[in-house]
Subunit: 334 residues, 2 copies
């Protein structure tokens, strides 16, 4: 059996380009007792991969999650045909012993995909996977939103942001989203029920906040960072909470961007800002996944996926996602 | 009885100067039932006055705390000769009815100074007053320091910072202070027991952090903001906590200073940063005051005051304090 995988052939400088990636073939051995051979059906491209790969040596396999099918099995818990979610990286085929806990990190978890009924298995990479838990815990635990409060979400049409806004609506908040195209803005309001949405490329952020949140912002779920976030921070109410999930605007910067110093607002508005990595809630993932699935099945959360066809398109799908080409979750279908 | 007071005659632009202030005399009436006439003995000059006064109309009396003596009394709880701490502003004499709760804000509280033994009553404006509670709650509640952790304090030789560093030592932390003169740095290490201290005007902040905290910083108590704080933030450990007490470096800025955008560190280090105003703990002030007094009496916390003589010197003392002329608490003695 031959597996294909993508490695980071050269270090990213700014926005990644196709020459940074190299497709490699490798021979897989026969599986041993306890092992399974998995075939990727859907692979995830996510913005976190950009800064994370900076920590890996050149030549490393690109990291990431996939929904895979068990092709061969010598492990009774993982029978042939079973679908799993795992962090094998950008690989078509993988041999693993699920009983081996690896480094016990999030990236070594292997999850059996629950029964999704008529829902597509690819949502194991999105709303009921890592992005779903990111939205659920990162928003609810760190922002502690109350009904009637005003919530701003940046990167609102992305995999996480689109879920955060809908969770905020379920919790009775007034939700304002920022996204990067008019189509996304329309989708947020017309389909997802955001109260207001703006194309951040076309509006003055401060003016839009005055219009949409004349009494200020209570919670800010930040996927973007830099100038947009500085503007939102300056418009927050006393005891406002900021959950920092990502800073996609900065990931491709070669020099840190300069923004107005924020400390005076933090003091006089008594703001709280916390950044997080979702694995801090790893023990509670089943709770998040279960709730997200229920909300989807009840029609309270709508999901959208932007598919790219073909494993060979992984690099391009990744580059496109970093530039905001996706609405909802970006997924590569093998 | 004639009272003297200072008003803000013109709006501050940048660093205040003497022409911003005007000394005004006013006639005080006879006191009525329930009222007391108080005479200021010590008045406080604090950095918070600079940004707070921006919210008051021109012509307002300068705000601030004082230790005052009851000169005349028609209120049995406040007999003649009793010392109190109150927020009458920059006034020599004040008539007040302590039974009137005013706007119930912090600024309308009147506190009977406890028995201090041989300690000077002026510490009611410092270590056992608002700055003491600021240090006690702002550090312990928001930073949640643990023994063995590394704590950085900026504005470390000031009224609040000098207490925070000593509290951190009591809690078993390794304490690094930044101050603005070599004498202050020497005082922090030789007298207060800071583990390391640096003159931020003379060192490269990042180099000094690498030297003093090779394994990173766990807690940062920030009085200063801007570039210094950006450097400390970039040197923090995972789950680091930042308590933002003030941003004195920015108070006289007419335009917000630009600093490197901090979101990537917040995410990947899972940092938490919270700003505060001390009145959020108003209900717990007795706890803070009692503990601070005990630590002082036990010799675990040392206090230092920088005195300026004469009510007429209030503006100059305030301007000097904003430029860091004081070591420990800046107090004007009438």
């Amino acid at each position: 059996m031959k597996a294909q995988k993508y490695i980071m052939a050269t270090r990213f400088q700014g926005l990644p380009n196709l020459s940074n990636f190299k497709l490699v073939e490798e021979d897989l051995p026969e599986i041993q007792n306890g092992e399974i051979l998995c075939e990727a059906l859907f692979l995830s491209v996510d913005s976190y991969m950009r800064p994370y790969m900076d920590r890996y040596p050149v030549g490393s396999t690109m990291i990431g999650g996939q929904v895979a099918k068990v092709l061969h099995s010598k492990n009774p818990k993982y029978p042939v045909g079973r679908l799993i979610v795992a962090y094998f990286g950008w690989r078509t085929h993988t041999i693993i012993n699920p009983n081996d806990e690896g480094d016990k990190s999030f990236m070594s978890t292997i999850t059996l995909l629950p029964d999704l009924g008529s829902l597509p298995p690819s949502i194991g990479l999105g709303a009921i996977g890592m992005p779903g838990n990111t939205a659920y815990f990162g928003f609810l635990d760190l922002c502690q939103p109350k009904a009637g409060e005003v919530v701003v979400v940046s990167g609102a049409a992305g995999a996480v942001g689109s879920l955060v806004g809908q969770i905020a609506k379920i919790k009775g908040c007034f939700v304002i989203g920022y996204a990067g195209t008019d189509d996304k803005v329309k989708w947020l309001v017309d389909e997802l029920g955001f109260d207001r949405a703006y194309n951040y490329k076309k509006v003055d952020i401060k003016d839009s906040l005055k219009e949409a949140a004349p009494n200020g912002v209570d919670c800010y779920f930040d996927n973007v960072g830099a100038e947009l976030s500085a503007a939102v921070r300056s418009h927050m109410n006393e005891f406002g909470r900021i959950s920092v999930c990502g800073s996609i605007s900065a990931y491709n910067d070669t020099q840190p961007r300069l923004v107005p110093c924020a400390e005076p607002s933090f003091v006089f508005k008594q703001l709280k800002m916390e950044g997080f990595l979702v694995h801090r809630w790893l023990d509670r993932f089943p709770e998040g996944t279960k709730q997200m699935l229920k909300w989807i099945q009840d029609g309270q959360i709508k999901i959208k996926e932007t598919f790219t066809d073909g494993f060979k398109q992984m690099p391009q799908a990744f580059i496109d996602m970093l530039q905001g080409a996706n609405t909802g979750k970006a997924v590569v279908k093998v």
